[in-house]
């Protein structure tokens, strides 16, 4: 991790009707870091990264990614930027009607049209190897487990060799062992592909395992940003409640 800012967000605001979701968000993502965005459901974590890639439009504020202001980009420029930013969806969003191979080929053949069949096959095999699922190449998404789907979803974004990865709830709905696998994979991706990442989660185990820095979103703003220990070393009741529920209550219940 160094001090070069890859993505910079300033005074970002968005509301859905009367419900103000983000109310002046400021954040910097540094090159080579894993930044975890923590917060309760409905606080706008996913909305934030969807605005980053142009899936949603903010009401106001600026996002600068790789020196370009996202909201001012043309469709073509936005597509070029999207090639540098991989997005792993909460429910994987694999194309149901395509095999794993076709899912991985899809972004590749559309964005690198001069590739030969052999090069495409190699890229697909390499991406699958990197997530440890080479054997699933001819399977349909419906034949995969939740953890496998997550991995294939990550492989599909990695095939374009992005510089930034955005993970939307990577461990949601998975068993604890698979969660650890996914956390390890996120760290491996960072090392192997030299990516900077934003990881959206409400899972503190995941945050602790992958986060170089953690940012806590409350009331539409980042209230605390720092290392995991720095963020939770506070008397703020909301932060403590969040910590206790994740680490104390969940263990007690299990």
């Amino acid at each position: 991790m160094n001090n070069e800012v890859v993505i910079s967000i300033r005074d970002l605001r968005i509301a859905f009707g009367d419900y103000k979701v983000l109310q002046g968000v400021d954040l910097d993502l540094y090159k080579g870091e894993n930044l975890v965005v923590l917060g309760r459901s409905g606080t706008g974590k996913s909305v934030l990264i969807k605005i980053l890639v142009g899936l949603l439009k903010a009401d106001s504020g600026t996002i600068t990614a790789f020196g370009q202001q996202v909201e001012e980009l043309s469709r073509k420029e936005l597509d070029a930027l999207r090639l540098k930013i991989g997005f792993s969806f909460q429910n994987s969003a694999l194309y149901d009607s395509m095999t794993v191979r076709e899912n991985l080929e899809f972004p590749l053949v559309r964005n690198a049209r001069n590739l030969s069949r052999k090069e495409i096959d190699q890229a697909v095999e390499e991406a699958l190897d990197n997530v440890g699922l080479s054997q699933t190449i001819n399977q349909m998404p419906s034949e995969l487990s939740g953890g496998q789907r997550k991995r294939i979803g990550i492989a599909r974004t990695l095939i374009l060799k992005p510089e930034v990865m955005l993970y939307d709830e990577p461990t949601a709905g998975l068993d604890p062992i698979t969660c650890i696998d996914i956390n390890n994979l996120i760290n491996e991706v960072k090392e192997r592909y030299k990516t900077s990442s934003i990881v959206i989660t409400h899972d503190l185990t995941c945050a602790k395992a992958v986060g170089d820095r953690v940012a806590m979103l409350f009331d539409g703003q980042f209230q605390r940003v720092g290392t995991f220990e720095e963020v939770f070393d506070t008397d703020d009741e909301r932060v403590q409640q969040f910590y206790n529920y994740n680490f104390v209550e969940e263990r007690r219940m299990s």
């Binding site: 890639v53 429910n91 964005n111």
Partner: protein, 266 residues
């Protein structure tokens, strides 16, 4: 009580009208985007062919059955009326005109609306709610071009082809029924058929089914692409695609009838 109901109705009418205008402008924008994207490269030929197969080849069993039965039933129902005037020899001409001008285009469009329209609505609706369309978008692929343009082109191109096929299967059904009741050879039957239909009949029906196909694809895609509210939205998209398409097909049929009649001068 009455006053309050009237008041509510009065208040909701402008709101409903406003919503209708917003929907209309949405639809116009959607159609406009189609015409903007359809001529711009890259062209998704492989996907267009796959969709043509889905719309055309996969509809053949159902179209064959309904077309064949339509031919048999229409012939059977028309016979008694013609027999009263001793004019059963006109059956092939009557059936040919009915099939080419109205029955085949309508049967094909209604079958396609039920099978293809609902399929497109449900498929795109499900892709929308499971974020598959967003996944295409963020991987720098234009989902409108890949999903909407290809499907609308496929339905627009395949409906006229299916209509021609329905005419032939319908005529086959009619011939089977005719030969069971009248002493008519295949050659006589075919000659009567081709003497009865004009170039205008065939041309008008082809244009009509071209429009039906465009409508089926466009409505199915619009409903699916803009669906929301999870699985409930998917069901609504599929259902609404079929209902809206069928309604529009009948309106278009009525308009086409007026135009063709005006051309014929009748």
């Amino acid at each position: 009580m009455n006053t309050s109901t009237t008041g509510t109705e009065t208040a909701s009418t402008p709101r409903r009208f406003g919503r209708m205008l917003i929907t209309l402008s949405d639809v116009a924008g959607f159609v406009g985007q189609f015409f903007k994207e359809v001529f711009q490269p890259p062209y998704e030929f492989k996907e267009i062919i796959r969709q043509c197969y889905e719309v055309g080849v996969r509809s053949l069993p159902l179209i064959s059955l309904t077309g064949f039965i339509t031919g048999i039933v229409f012939t059977n129902q028309s016979r008694p009326s013609l027999a009263e005037f001793g004019a059963t020899s006109w059956l092939p001409s009557l059936i040919a005109i009915a099939l080419v001008r109205a029955l085949a285009p309508l049967v094909t469009a209604l079958i396609a609306a039920g099978r293809v329209g609902s399929n497109i609505g449900a498929e795109l609706g499900s892709m929308r709610v499971t974020e598959q369309i967003d996944a295409m978008e963020v991987s720098a692929t234009n989902p409108f071009k890949f999903l909407v343009v290809t499907r609308v082109l496929a339905t627009t191109l395949m409906l006229p082809t299916l209509m021609v096929y329905t005419v032939f299967v319908g005529l086959l059904g009619a011939f089977v029924n005719v030969t069971q009741n009248e002493a008519t050879s295949f050659l006589t039957f075919i000659t009567d058929v081709f003497e009865a239909i004009s170039f205008l009949d065939i041309f008008a029906s082809l244009i009509k089914t071209f429009v039906f196909g465009f409508t089926i694809g466009m409505v199915g895609c619009y409903k699916g692409y803009n669906s929301s509210k999870g699985t409930e939205g998917v069901g609504k998209a599929a259902n609404s695609a079929v209902v809206t398409t069928m309604f529009l097909v009948f309106i278009e049929e009525l308009l086409a009838l007026q135009i063709v009649n005006a051309i014929r001068g009748t």
